[in-house]
């Protein structure tokens, strides 16, 4: 009788282990899948930029410097690998593009050009998609990390050596911490 009980507990334990293990695996796969999605969108942006540059080149004769920056930032971003360096290169590219769009505002010819407006809309949309993909990725990473660290799961994760995943960091300018004065005035 006692033997049966022990066997029962062992079987339950194994089942429990399987459930947790599978849960962790599926969460990890979600994280990796969403990383691919960021890649897809980043590539989309990389593909759009040469089009934009060649379309506006003629009108922006005196802004070659800004265009150069966009081109070189794109080249760097295409070459980067790994979440950390990729995030940095992409932030550079975002800033360079922002500068270019600001400059384009001063050229009424460009603003009335259907082709340019379409490209600009495509790039805006792609940037939104990148932001959304990153948001999804970070949400999933947070989710996965929590699953690794909560109480019974942490045994399983250390047993099977699950690694944590890195966050895709936000652009540096949004990181500025608002200055808060917490000192008590007397």
């Amino acid at each position: 009788m006692a033997g049966w009980i022990i066997i029962g507990i062992v079987v339950l334990g194994i089942l429990w282990l399987i459930v947790i293990y599978n849960g962790l695996i599926s969460k990890r796969n979600d994280v990796q899948g969403s990383w691919k999605q960021i890649d897809v969108q980043l590539n989309r942006r990389h593909d759009l930029i040469p089009n934009l540059v060649s379309t506006v080149k003629g009108a922006l004769e005196f802004e070659q410097d800004t265009l150069e920056k966009v081109i070189s930032a794109r080249a760097k971003a295409v070459g980067a690998s790994g979440p950390q360096s990729k995030a940095e290169a992409e932030n550079m590219l975002t800033q360079a593009l922002g500068k270019l769009f600001a400059v384009m505002e001063n050229y009424p010819d460009l603003k009335s050009n259907q082709n340019v407006m379409q490209l600009q809309e495509e790039i805006t949309s792609t940037e939104n998609r990148i932001a959304f993909a990153r948001q999804l990725y970070n949400d999933l990473v947070a989710n996965y990390r929590t699953a690794l660290q909560v109480f019974p799961n942490n045994f399983v994760s250390s047993m099977f050596n699950f690694q944590t995943e890195e966050y895709f960091e936000a652009p540096s300018e949004t990181k500025a911490v608002p200055a808060v004065n917490l000192s008590i005035r007397k």
């Binding site: 969108q41 407006m117 379409q118 809309e121 939104n128 999804l136």
Partner: protein
């Protein structure tokens, strides 16, 4: 947990089963009611009842399948919604936004998008048993909201679809709702005899049930969709602004038929019930109070309603501050353009003394000739003209009329509005010479025909409603300055002209003289003999 993890889309909903049961009971009741008229012994037999249950089950099943399986197509067809036009900038933006939301929700489900050709402000989502889903947005909403605001609306609708609660509402709407909006039409168009027929009775019961359905649709889902929209876009303020905006606009009452209201982001019919809370409203209303929704969103954004209000106002105020001494002008396409400085106005090709001009937002609009600064522009333009001044002023533009040759005779023409002042004696001459020089063009003919038609209906209407004073003030005679008499050239030629009976002059606005000639030449006459 992010939405993407919740895979409830496949989950069968108990409410859908319930709808089916309600439908079946309904058919059973109707069939039983009619069979009550049959001879007595048949009713007692149990086989008869089994037959009834099976028959109503089949009928309900057929009804259910035909209305629920292709519900998305039905909704789209009924609203005449079109897929976004890829050549249209704003439509393309909308299609892009849907793709963006596919990204943020992890590409779990393919959602179609559609544009409803209506100026109202509303959006709706529909999903059906075949797995189709659509988000439809009105043309008015697309053109008046900013990109982040449209994003928030679409995210709200996307959550309805992803969470699965859209499926149950669509099924409910298509089983009872499409029926009820069809019924509304019948009620308006058909004669009373139809009300007595049994088919109508059945439909009427369905219609009433359609209202009762609101019991099953909880208000909670709107709150949840709002929260999910914020989670997707991280922008509670955009959604709050949108709701604020929608609360003040036309939400499509009358265009979006009843039965679809539970699919919409805001109830097309603004009812008092919707804006109250409590047990009964919670039970009967499909949408929570807009005010409450906005409060929740603004709490997330840490902004108060008053701040939102002043925000909106400040934004429009900023525009005004930038354009300190500026003018806004109504373009020929009836759109306000501006701000312009005096110099910019000077080079506007379409600026005429009749253009509506306002000196800033919120200022009342005036004709351009009334502003002495702008009037100077016209005087300058005239200085270059070689035509001789006739000494008369144009009754609408108040600019000098120049003598001009028309069909070999001399008339007085305004350089701006192209109106013509003709002495009465010369009119028959001009009409007789219609065929010479410039014959009637296609454009003039079409114009004359439509003016004729319009004036004809107006003429009849006017007789019925006992001479309503027209909104257009009477024009002063260019010669004696007395108000001119406005009327049709004759009862057979319905062209509105202004006449001064003292001076014997007739004023034709632009194209009116030409149209009169075309009417006479081509015998465009009123179709109905007009009796006085």
């Amino acid at each position: 947990m992010p939405l993407t993890f919740i895979d409830i889309e496949r989950q069968k909903n108990w409410r859908i089963t319930l709808f089916f049961l309600v439908l079946m009971v309904l058919y059973l009741a109707v069939v039983a009611l009619f069979s009550a008229a049959l001879p007595g012994p048949l009713i007692v037999e149990s086989r008869f009842w089994i037959f009834l249950v099976v028959a109503s089950f089949l009928a309900a099943g057929i009804h259910f399948w035909f209305s629920a399986a292709n519900a998305v197509d039905t909704v789209v067809r009924r609203l005449d919604a079109q897929p976004p036009d890829p050549k249209d900038d704003i439509h393309r933006m909308f299609a892009n936004i849907i793709q963006e939301l596919h990204v943020v929700s992890g590409n779990k489900r393919d959602i179609r998008c559609a544009v409803i050709p209506s100026l109202s402000l509303n959006a709706l989502a529909a999903a059906d048993l075949k797995g189709n889903a659509v988000i439809a947005v009105t043309e008015g909403l697309l053109s008046r909201l900013t990109r982040p605001q449209i994003e928030a609306v679409v995210a709200h609708e996307a959550h309805h679809i992803l969470s699965g609660d859209c499926l149950e509402t669509t099924v409910a709407a298509s089983i009872f709702g499409t029926f009820s909006s069809a019924m509304e039409k019948i009620r308006y168009t058909s004669s009373n005899r139809l009300f007595a027929s049994p088919a109508f009775l059945l439909a009427w019961v369905l219609l009433q049930l359609g209202y009762l359905l609101n019991l099953f649709i909880s208000r909670e889902r709107e709150y949840r969709a709002d929260a999910a929209a914020v989670r997707m876009t991280r922008n509670p303020l955009a959604l709050a602004e949108t709701l604020h905006f929608l609360s003040r606009g036309w939400r499509g009452a009358g265009f979006i038929g009843s039965g679809f209201e539970m699919l919409c982001i805001v109830n097309p019919m603004a009812t008092a019930l919707d804006e109250t809370e409590g047990f009964l409203p919670d039970l009967l209303s499909t949408h929570p109070p807009l005010r409450k929704r906005m409060d929740l969103l603004l709490a997330m954004a840490r902004v108060s309603v008053a701040e939102l209000d002043s925000n909106v106002e400040r934004r429009s105020g900023e525009k005004q501050a930038d354009s300190a001494p500026n003018y806004f002008a109504m373009s020929p396409r009836q759109q306000w353009q501006g701000p312009f400085t005096g110099g910019e106005l000077d080079v506007l090709p379409w600026l005429s003394p009749l253009t509506w001009v306002a000196t800033g937002e919120g200022q009342s609009a005036e004709r351009a000739w009334k502003d002495p600064l702008i009037n100077a522009i016209f005087l300058r333009r005239l200085a270059g003209e070689t035509r001789t001044d006739s000494g008369f002023t144009c009754p609408s533009c108040r600019q000098p009329l120049a003598t001009a040759a028309y069909k070999g005779t001399q008339v007085f023409q305004c350089s701006f509005c192209a109106g013509m002042l003709v002495e009465n004696g010369k009119i028959p001459r001009i009409i007789a010479r219609t065929g010479r020089e410039r014959p009637c063009t296609e454009r003039l003919n079409a114009l004359a025909r439509s003016v004729l038609q319009q004036n004809q209906t107006r003429n009849i209407y006017r007789k019925v409603s006992a001479h309503g004073a027209g909104p257009v003030p009477l024009l002063p005679c260019p010669k004696c300055k007395n108000p001119m008499y406005r009327g049709f050239y004759s009862t057979a030629h319905l062209i509105e002209v202004d006449r001064c009976s003292f001076c014997g002059l007739t004023w034709f606005d632009q194209d009116e003289l030409e149209m009169l000639q075309c009417m006479i030449e081509n015998r465009l006459l009123p179709e109905v003999p007009l009796t006085v």
